[in-house]
């Protein structure tokens, strides 16, 4: 049995993502996902039968179908039965589950994937179904409207203004020109108000996409990857469901998760933040006390591609890929879920010099 406990080192050793597109009618979910799975397996030389644990994130409400993840399982060769689990959440939380599984010594390698097709439905309406069913969901407040309430609270608090938000949009989409997978790249007009104070440019694109990573422990990771992205810490926290109870201009759950992940111990050079709306980057920078010296979302972030249920896993993958390439030595990766940054996951990744 392999060593267990917090002493065990676990790393992201491979990352792949699809091209994120407005619609992918010609592909079922498994057809969307499979090339990405093959890419991470090929990168490590592993076969599906070599994987100790498989975990995925997706959403039935997005797919409009019960148990939709079972179809996608065909892509990992799930028969004969494999050690597998699914979270009805972003793949980032699947990665967390897989990390815990490896820490316990139950597995040495894990395949983690997340995917989502927003194109078949109206994602603004779909996301209302995650809200409090008694007091909030019957009003159908869509995801842009809730983010706009948070943006106005930030403007009233003097934390940002529309010009600053526009510059976040511009910087993200300029960064995405170097990311061939991104859906929205290069300069783009801020556009009209979708829900004031948020304009088109402040909102993420709607689209379909998938991402996958492979995790491995200790020497196995060193065998599979020249420069593994070691997970030095990872934690996730949640805030009160009711928006009116929370201070929308802050994200104490992100700060606490970052603290528990060891983020504040030493500076990072890169931060991949899951901020689908420009205003949410303002909140996260404040919560994490990120300085201007940190490269934030060099991939373009969720403003350049936001495949729901994979966008958080993409942040972990993009941060890891920078470490793999030697572009980063210590990176923060963040994923969010729920309205107005309700739930937040933070991981700290490092490369060995």
């Amino acid at each position: 049995m392999a060593p267990t406990g917090p002493g065990r080192d676990v790393a992201i050793v491979a990352f792949a993502q699809s091209d994120h597109r407005r619609r992918t009618d010609e592909l079922s979910e498994v057809e969307l996902l499979m090339p990405v799975l093959h890419q991470v397996l090929d990168a490590t030389g592993l076969k599906t039968s070599d994987i100790g644990f498989t975990c995925s994130g997706s959403s039935d409400y997005l797919a409009g179908r019960a148990f939709s993840f079972t179809m996608a399982l065909d892509g990992v060769g799930a028969w004969p039965p494999i050690s597998e689990s699914h979270v009805e959440m972003d793949g980032a939380w699947a990665l967390y589950e897989a990390w815990v599984k490896i820490l316990t010594g139950e597995a040495d390698t894990a395949l983690v994937y997340g995917y989502g097709k927003s194109s078949p439905g109206e994602v603004r309406d779909v996301l209302t179904r995650q809200l409090d069913p008694y007091y909030v969901a019957p009003l159908w407040p869509d995801s842009v409207s809730l983010a706009a309430l948070q943006a106005q609270a930030l403007i009233d608090a003097g934390d940002t203004d529309e010009t600053a938000l526009a510059s976040i949009a511009g910087r993200s989409r300029a960064a995405a020109t170097a990311n061939s997978h991104a859906q929205v790249r290069g300069s783009r007009a801020q556009g009209e108000y979708v829900v004031r104070p948020l304009r088109t440019g402040d909102c993420p694109p709607i689209g379909d996409g998938a991402a996958a990573v492979i995790l491995a422990a200790g020497d196995r990771a060193r065998d599979l990857c020249a420069r593994p992205a070691w997970i030095r810490g990872m934690d996730h926290r949640i805030e009160a469901h009711s928006l009116g109870v929370r201070d929308l201009t802050d994200s104490p759950s992100t700060r606490l998760a970052a603290e528990r992940a060891g983020f504040f111990e030493r500076p990072v050079d890169t931060a991949e933040l899951h901020a689908p709306f420009t205003s949410q980057e303002v909140v996260l920078r404040k919560a994490l006390r990120l300085g201007e010296d940190v490269s934030v979302n060099p991939s373009g972030g969720a403003l350049a591609a936001n495949p729901v249920m994979a966008a958080g896993l993409l942040r972990l993958g993009e941060a890891a890929a920078r470490i793999h390439r030697g572009d980063s030595d210590r990176a923060l990766a963040h994923a969010t879920s729920g309205p107005c940054l309700q739930q937040n996951l933070v991981a700290v990744l490092e490369g060995e010099s």
Binding site: D25, E26, E31, M34, G77, E122, D125, L149
Partner: protein, 319 residues
């Protein structure tokens, strides 16, 4: 037939609709009954704060909280967002502002809509009051919306106890989501072939099994399947069950047999109803063929071909 000719990808509307029926705890019941009676109630936490809308457990300490407090039906906007294009189900059909409102006497804010002429008429800190719905049932929508408070007649709370006759104990929350479903390449090809009364599967390049209906991937090998293979039309019953309960809206007499059928050339069985033979004479190994109804888009049922039963060894791998 073999090959992988380009396929027109199918698309069709898909509506998921469900009336969620939810029961209420004592605090939610009091709050929603209160709205029906034009009374707004909050709940007091251990440290003395008043939460509106109320919850049953303290969001900080997780302690159970039950002390109801009446608050005013008027308050102050803490943040807002102008919604120029209301969506289905939202409180107002004309442009409105989403608002979080801290009602007088409350320490937290309630989300709702504000009826205002335009964004210039809205700001954080503005005074607003509840506009009650004409017909109230004990739901958050009993508040039709908020409206600017022009300083007119003030409805002051009078210390309501939160006790009501005929309290609301549940809500029905209808949900409807609309999709345009597309089954992707592999399943489109399968459905298109069915319209010509052909059953087409896909062969795995690794294990050579033919999957029908195809989903574009081999669940054993985890690789894409692309080579299309026509299977059937006849097949073998590999296993079956006898259905004795009549399904709602299904015009089939019970008992009837539902079976797994391995179509000739297929690597796994699909399922279908067996007809044209008494239910108690269906057996493993029975040879069957599809029966199409006029204009049917898939086989209505399968009936015996009259051939001798298949040998167990020929289908045991497919059970």
């Amino acid at each position: 037939m073999a090959g992988s000719a380009a396929t027109e990808v199918l698309r069709a509307p898909l509506v998921v609709e469900f009336p969620f029926t939810r029961s209420l705890g004592p605090v939610q019941s009091a709050f929603l009954t209160g709205l029906r009676e034009r009374v707004v109630l909050g709940v007091r936490t251990g440290d003395g704060r008043v939460l509106v809308p109320p919850v049953e457990y303290d969001p900080v300490t997780a302690e159970e909280i039950r002390e109801l407090v009446e608050v005013a039906p008027a308050g102050t906007v803490t943040t807002w967002a102008w919604n120029p294009a209301p969506r289905r189900g939202q409180p107002l059909e004309r442009p409105f502002a989403w608002v979080l409102v801290k009602l007088d006497g409350a320490d937290t804010s309630l989300l709702h809509a504000l009826d205002a002429p335009g964004p210039d008429a809205v700001h954080s800190g503005m005074r607003v009051r509840v506009r009650w719905a004409q017909d109230r049932t004990g739901a958050i929508t009993d508040i039709a919306c908020f409206e600017p408070d022009d300083g007119g007649e003030e409805a002051q709370p009078c210390g309501h106890s939160g006790e009501f006759e005929d309290a609301v104990t549940g809500i029905v929350a209808p949900a409807r989501l609309d999709y345009t479903y597309s089954p992707g390449r592999a399943q489109s090809a399968y459905i298109n072939a069915l319209s010509a009364r052909k059953t087409v599967g896909e062969r795995c390049p690794d294990c050579r099994k033919v999957y029908v209906p195809p989903r574009g991937a081999c669940p054993t090998c985890g690789v894409a399947t692309e080579e299309r293979v026509e299977v059937g039309p006849a097949g073998t019953v590999t296993t079956y069950c006898i259905v004795n309960i009549k399904a709602k809206n299904l015009d089939i007499e019970v008992p009837y047999v539902y079976a797994h059928i391995a179509l000739d050339g297929a690597g796994l069985a699909l399922h279908g109803r067996i007809g044209g033979i008494p239910y108690d004479q269906v057996r493993m190994g029975l040879r069957v063929e599809p029966v199409w109804s006029e204009g049917g888009r898939y086989p209505d049922h399968y009936r015996p071909t009259g051939e001798p039963d298949a040998d167990y060894e020929t289908y045991k791998e497919l059970i």
